[in-house]
């Protein structure tokens, strides 16, 4: 190819890339969905192989084959805790009679066990792929948990797969309250492994070791669906007060070991 043709080809390529970049998010998502759907069986097989190998390793060297049983118990425990959290929320908000709360409390949740089959190829985004999708009952926007701790939210759903945006992702925003329920705020991802609770009232009393949980209210800014109330997001490890600011913020630490997540639970409203 001559030098002139090469230069034209390069210009055309870069223009095509800019067209891709300016595609609407929905188009981008559906294109990626097709490709992810094609490779999901491969990811699932890889996960099964590594799971088997790790099981053999554990049984051989540690005699530890009760991990799966623990996960089942965890699932049952979570269902009970969710019910309890709903009841507490109902009592707390009874005076205001929120119609939305009633809907959540009466509806209940179904918990779907899913395996993590893939991760984000780079560290700019914080997402993971799970092997359950629309055919299993997973819906867009539902919460994904590990034990009683919030892991993230489903952002893409395919037939037999879903993509979960972790709470650590910079694009994640979750409505939250402190454990006693009187200090609201928004929890956002603020870099790899970091969580921050923002928009806390300037005069609100928040302190280190306070537990932060989800609330049924959805963030107005992100317009995302509400999450089940009472899921643990993390524990406050630092508070930063601004002298003249309207709000204060807090650094959180999640109990979830995001590096070693192999199985999670999708909490789907019934």
């Amino acid at each position: 190819m001559s030098g002139k043709r090469r230069r034209i080809a390069i210009v055309v390529t870069f223009v095509a890339i800019f067209v891709f970049l300016s595609l609407p998010w929905s188009v981008s998502r559906s294109v990626k969905g097709v490709v992810t759907g094609l490779f999901t069986p491969l990811f699932s097989v890889c996960r099964s192989v590594t799971d088997k190998l790790s099981e053999i390793w554990k049984v051989t060297f540690h005699g530890d084959n009760i991990v799966r049983e623990n996960l089942r118990k965890e699932r049952e425990l979570l269902e009970l805790r969710l019910k309890l959290a709903q009841e507490r929320e109902k009592i707390r908000e009874l005076s205001s009679l929120h119609s939305q709360l009633e809907e959540v409390a009466e509806g209940g949740f179904e918990v779907i066990l899913a395996r993590v089959i893939g991760r984000e190829p780079d560290s700019w985004y914080q997402t993971l792929l799970i092997d359950r999708g629309a055919k299993d009952g997973v819906k867009n926007g539902v919460a994904v948990v590990h034990g009683e701790n919030l892991v993230g939210r489903v952002i893409e759903v395919g037939g037999r797969w879903s993509r979960v945006r972790l709470i650590l992702d910079v694009g994640s925003a979750v409505s939250a309250v402190t454990g006693n329920g009187d200090v609201p705020g928004i929890v956002i991802g603020s870099g790899p492994g970091e969580l921050k609770m923002t928009l806390i009232r300037h005069n609100a009393r928040v302190k280190v070791n306070d537990v932060v949980v989800t609330t049924h209210l959805s963030p107005v800014l992100t317009q995302e669906a509400p999450l089940p109330p009472g899921l643990v997001i993390g524990k406050i490890v630092g508070v930063s007060q601004e002298e003249e600011g309207l709000y204060q913020s807090a650094l959180l630490e999640s109990k979830v070991d995001f590096r070693h997540l192999s199985e999670v639970l999708a909490v789907v409203p019934k």
Binding site: R6, T13, F20, L23, E120, S123, W124, Y125, G191, P192
Partner: protein, 169 residues
């Protein structure tokens, strides 16, 4: 280099990049960028135009498996391919330090490009924090893995050329 072989290597690299963090959870922010290593590897053996095209292909594959928009990595890897393809004649390919330096440079350049593209979409991040926590360790890991890949690839090439010479002697 055959297009089919390049495509297969790039696809395998991206799949490995998706699966590996799931199996080996060393450090949450550490990601070995196999696709970037593959792009640099090919670019050190090709001219700037082919390198840019290989970069586009590799970047698009990463985009398709990532949680972000399509085109972010395609743009970044295309520029990296073009830069490395232009500079390849000046790189002494027998020296692993030089190769490690190229891979580290490519990792830094990729991070700067991706950071700026994301900033254009309003995704704000603390670059310095991210650099210390993620970019730097990932670049170091890329350099180690990249040099190993180069070493293996060179041995395979040497073995193939010995077989070829033997059959034509």
């Amino acid at each position: 280099m055959k297009v089919r072989n390049v495509a297969c290597v790039l696809l395998a690299s991206v799949i490995l990049q998706v699966i590996l963090p799931n199996v080996v959870g060393l450090y949450e922010a550490l990601r070995i960028q196999f696709a970037l290593i593959a792009v640099v590897h090919f670019s050190l053996h090709e001219d700037w135009f082919r390198s840019a095209m290989i970069g586009v292909a590799g970047g698009l594959m990463v985009d398709l498996f990532s949680g972000g928009r399509i085109g972010v990595y395609a743009l970044s890897y295309a520029i990296i391919g073009m830069v490395v393809g232009r500079a390849q004649e000046r790189v002494f390919k027998d020296n692993f330090l030089a190769i490690a330096a190229v891979i580290v440079g490519a990792s830094f350049l990729s991070s700067i490009l991706v950071f700026n593209v994301l900033a254009l979409y309003g995704i704000k991040m603390d670059y310095l924090g991210l650099f210390a926590k993620s970019v730097l360790p990932s670049a170091a890991a890329n350099a180690i893995v990249g040099c190993t890949v180069f070493s293996i690839s060179r041995r395979i090439q040497d073995a193939r050329s010995r077989i070829w010479r033997g059959s034509h002697w």
